[in-house]
Amino acid sequence: MEIKVNKETCTGCNLCKKVCLYDAIEIVDGKAVINENCIFCGACIEVCKLNSIEITGLKEEQKDFSDYSGVCVYLEANGDRIADVGFELVSEGRKLADQLDVKLSAVAVGSSIEKSALEAFQYGLDKLYLIDSPVFSDNLDDIFAKALVQVITRYKPEIFLAGATWFGRTLIPKVAAILKTGLTADCTGLEIDKEKKILLQTRPTFGGNILATIITRNARPQMATVRPHVMEKKKIAQDKGDYKDRIEYIDIDEKNFKSKYKLLDTEKELNENINITDYDVIVSGGRGLGGSEKFSMLKELAGLLRGVVGASRAAVDSGWISYPHQVGQTGKTVNPKLYIACGISGAIQHLAGMQTSDIIIAINKDPNAPIFKVANYGIVGDIFEVVPMLIKRLKNKILLV
């Protein structure tokens, strides 16, 4: 396998060299030369106007995947509730299944989750595989992986989708590795190539600076994780309908589901909502806040908007607020309906974690702060003036303008 430049057509225009993030292209005697730093990412192939670069010698085995059929999504549970991302995937899975003209199934694994899992039928599910047992009351990766592998190998879906939650991101790669198939992380777009009937998985890389479309070759199912809140969940039925025949209870032999992981303790931060990815509104504070005590102001604002408090890396590193609140590449990627950035300058790593929010409001002293480059509404001003006034206004007091 190699990557080749067609010397006949290459004009040495330098475009490929400019886009190569790995410093793998030099222009020698007016022609592009690709060196050993190349990781075959294909950025140069994409950009070359003369189609002068190609990857050759990649063996394509023609495997028969005809016994794989249907789309299956994983309904991840949090306690006895199915997390929203599960229903989002059902809605998305429905579209894909329709395009392929196949069935949409879901697998739910957990303890006392049946009631919540049934809701999935309102989102257009054809079939539910339910594994409901007390052995799944804690998030023990290995036995969850085993359960999922059992379902997938038995029912052979051609596509399997799961939420890119933190648990999903450690569990699903394990499942893919056991099944010996490919997995694409954190997809933000899924489409069907109608001709080849394969799944096109689009995901951001480089902190959202680049999008890559990926396919699964030589293996099935085609697996992908999808970030929470990226897909829209859409109820298509008022009630669950007649689901009795469409649900399959999978009994498991508890003896075979003994985890190698011993969970000793679970702790949640008291009185604090740290699962910031779960909220529709996030009010975040950054370096401009100047201290931990100032976060109480943001908490109040977040409370009024039924949201939660987030923070930039600078605020977390200064010890003003705990790490689970951190938004950005080093922390959590969030996708709320409303993101209010207070005193956050907007380092690229922070933007990577929040720029896909529906609406972004930035309040910052510095009109040149990069946060304004992604915001929908900008206020140049002092957060210590603006935020307390906004709190007052939300409490329905008339402002003296």
């Binding site: 190349c38 893919a176 480059k373 900008g378």
Partner: protein
Amino acid sequence: MIQIKIAVCIKQVPGTTEIKIDPETNTLIREGIENIINPFDAYAIEEGVRIRERSSSEEVEVIALTMGPPQSKEILKEAISVGVDRAILLSDRAFAGADTWATSNTLAKAINKIEDCRLIILGKQTLDGDTGQVGPELAQRLNIPFIGYASSILEINRNKMKVKRLMEDRYETFEINLPAAISVVKDINTPRVPSLRGKMKAKSVEIPVWDANQLGADEDEVGLSGSYTQVVKIFTPKIKHEIKMIEGSPGEQVEKLYKELKELNVI
């Protein structure tokens, strides 16, 4: 005698803070981007070194591993300058284009070749690929437990460890048998600045290079050939962005913002 061998898997990545987009062609401009050690991996290295420094009864050796082109040697030297005992470069043209599955295969072979690694530490994800999948896939290939998003190692000896992981809304503390693999979040430590002696050692150290042959890897199980996923298209997102600046005195700004929020139905 060394009782605990720790392998730290790291990667060289282009530092993204400098990435600029050419507005005309809507493509990335590489100029000015330096290759750096994946920032998340710095925590992995530090944690390995700290385990060694904390351990009084058992001798610990920390080995840094990376798969990449020859220039990746630089980050292995950096790892040595902050206290890693030795480093190995996995480099072969055949490794290029690997997805997480093929990468984990190459790493697994190297870890088996090192022999008796009790703990494997990785960063939570890389800055370029951003997947966080190599850790769990590697652990699965080695058939050992994996704990992602580790935020604290509470206890460790040759056979067992207590480790706390961070989930979105809680911390969970596990006891697992070793060997095992973990990926770490930045909460776990603050990576140190290199030491002068470390830098001197890094300058003179010879870093062994293992190729596909030495790892006993067939060409079609590594690199792009050994990958189950393949990039078919790469592009920059079209950013159509409009910002509405809200002007006026702070009071007026708040009033206008309030109206906008109302119209958007968020209040």
